[in-house]
């Protein structure tokens, strides 16, 4: 096993050093690491690899809505140099341009809303289809065979469903856990598969994007507060056991607390996944910077190691996101019998 990893590392190192030469030819120190940030950010095109001057990319649709021009569809390749595949204001197309930081802009500066199918949106669709197909094929087993022992996809997904239901939902929410189980399972599978598929080389950093984690956190926030019972709101606005004068301080803190919970959810997943991607790419970048076979082997070994850790992190973060969502929902629907003793 160790020998296989070593051989594989050597091969990958040689491969990466091949790139390093090209990158060096292209530019200075800045260019050797710029691919890291380029990878972890969203993009209007999906860039897979560059061989010399050949860019292997997937152009993606750019969809814009503006009050005066309505809904418009373009391709990301309309906005770039066909030779270098670089975006820039000088490659404007029909009044729009994508600048060198991959931002869509309008030449006349009027306002617009963007609905582009970016790299992360494509990744999102892949994850949605993957999770959907997986869950539906598992559910098909129960429809066909009834309540018998699971097989195939059902055998994989059933322990996850039971784990989320018994270990996360039931323990964190309490007696009313049943109606939140479907949301929590979907959340867990989405984040988990998103994290795992994001680790595939060439895939996008979808669950490490703040827009994705924000939407998930906001959904948990909405579910938590819509289901908040009397005890929950009483705890916020008339915190029991606190002197009336102290309420002036406590109530604002409690209200801020309502928002810090989803904020923490959003930031935790975003940071954990993005940081993992940056660390992996950082080790790969070492080979480019030092242009040394030794560093290449060592960094590839480290990348393999970090990748294994990232597999763990992918699962832990999915678990943590689901667990904290369940705990926030649990705090909103729990019967606060103990509040009188504060």
């Amino acid at each position: 096993m160790t020998r296989k990893i070593l051989v594989l590392s050597l091969l990958i190192s040689a491969f990466l050093l091949g790139f390093a030469g090209n990158t060096q030819a292209a530019g200075g120190e800045e260019d050797k690491t710029s691919f890291i940030m380029h990878h972890v950010k969203d993009s209007h095109e999906w860039h897979f690899a560059t061989f010399g001057h050949t860019h292997v990319t997937l152009p993606l649709p750019v969809i814009v809505y503006s009050g005066d021009r309505g809904l418009e569809f373009f391709s990301s390749s309309d906005f770039q140099n066909h030779e270098t595949h670089l975006f820039g204001e000088e490659y404007a197309h029909e009044g729009y341009f994508i600048d060198e930081h991959d931002h869509l802009g309008r030449v006349d500066g009027a306002s617009f809303i963007e609905f582009s199918i970016t790299k992360n949106v494509v990744m999102l669709f892949i994850v949605l289809i993957f999770v959907g197909w997986f869950a539906l094929s598992a559910a098909g087993h129960y429809k066909k065979h009834g309540a018998v022992a699971p097989k195939g996809a059902a055998a994989i997904i059933e322990p996850i469903v039971i784990f989320v239901r018994d270990e996360i939902a039931q323990k964190s929410i309490g007696p009313q856990y049943k109606r939140f189980v479907p949301y929590l399972i979907t959340l867990f599978l989405f984040v988990w598969f998103g994290n795992l598929l994001g680790l595939i080389p060439g895939a996008a950093n979808m669950t490490g994007n703040i827009a994705v984690t924000m939407v998930l956190a906001v959904l948990t926030f909405i579910i938590t507060n819509v289901n908040g019972n009397k005890g929950y709101w009483k705890h916020v606005f008339m915190t029991p056991g606190v002197p009336p004068a102290m309420l002036l301080i406590i109530v604002p803190v409690e209200i801020i607390g309502l928002f810090t919970k989803p904020f923490a959810l959003m930031v935790r997943l975003f940071v954990a996944i993005t940081a993992g991607h940056i660390v992996i790419l950082g080790f790969i970048a070492l080979a480019f910077i030092f242009e040394s076979y030794t560093i290449g082997i060592a960094s590839t070994l480290m990348v393999t190691f970090i990748n294994l850790i990232e597999l763990l992190v992918a699962t832990i973060q999915a678990y943590v996101f689901t667990l904290f969502s369940a705990m926030y929902i649990g705090s909103a629907v729990a019967e606060h019998a103990h509040d009188d003793h504060h």
Partner: protein
């Protein structure tokens, strides 16, 4: 696109994509799956419960059987004891009867013997008397055939009388 600025497009697609997935899966995956799971769990629980009941019933049955067996043993012992007592009593009674009958028989035999003895004795006496008479007759016939003998006899009687 900046790292910490959420893009509107991604927010839009993520929101509707995730909600779409959520609703499709709730309707077509999680509902049937969770229902099937609950059904299976309850059936397993029921099976376990019925097994428990069956085991309890078996234990009860066994206890009852043992009780019945013990009762039967007790009854058998009682019956045996009674039979033994009865047999002992019967033997004793029989012995008593036998000894009574024996005694009676012995008594009867004794009485018969006594009677027979008396009869025999009486018979013997009669015989003796008859014989004596015959002897006397014969003697008399022989001795009284001459005078001398008659004289002597008379003399003898006379002597006896004198002596008296």
């Amino acid at each position: 696109m900046d790292l910490i600025t959420p893009g509107t497009g991604l927010i839009f697609w993520q929101l509707f994509g995730f909600l779409g997935l959520l609703f499709i899966l709730i309707k077509f995956a999680w509902k049937p799956m969770l229902e099937a799971l609950e059904e299976r769990e309850s059936s397993i629980e029921n099976a376990l419960k019925s097994a428990e009941t069956a085991r309890n019933e078996m234990a009860n049955l066994k206890a009852e059987n043992e009780k019945l067996l013990a009762e039967a043993r007790l009854e058998r012992d009682i019956i045996l004891k009674k039979a033994q007592d009865a047999s002992v009593k019967m033997i004793e009674e029989a012995k008593e009867d036998a000894s009574k009958v024996g005694a009676q028989m012995i008594a009867n035999a004794k009485a018969v013997i006594e009677t027979e003895k008396k009869a025999a004795l009486a018979d013997v006496k009669t015989q003796v008397a008859t014989l004596s008479l015959e002897i006397t007759e014969k003697l008399l016939r022989k001795n009284l055939s001459d005078d001398k003998a008659q004289k002597e006899l008379v003399d003898g009687f006379v002597n006896e009388l004198k002596l008296n």
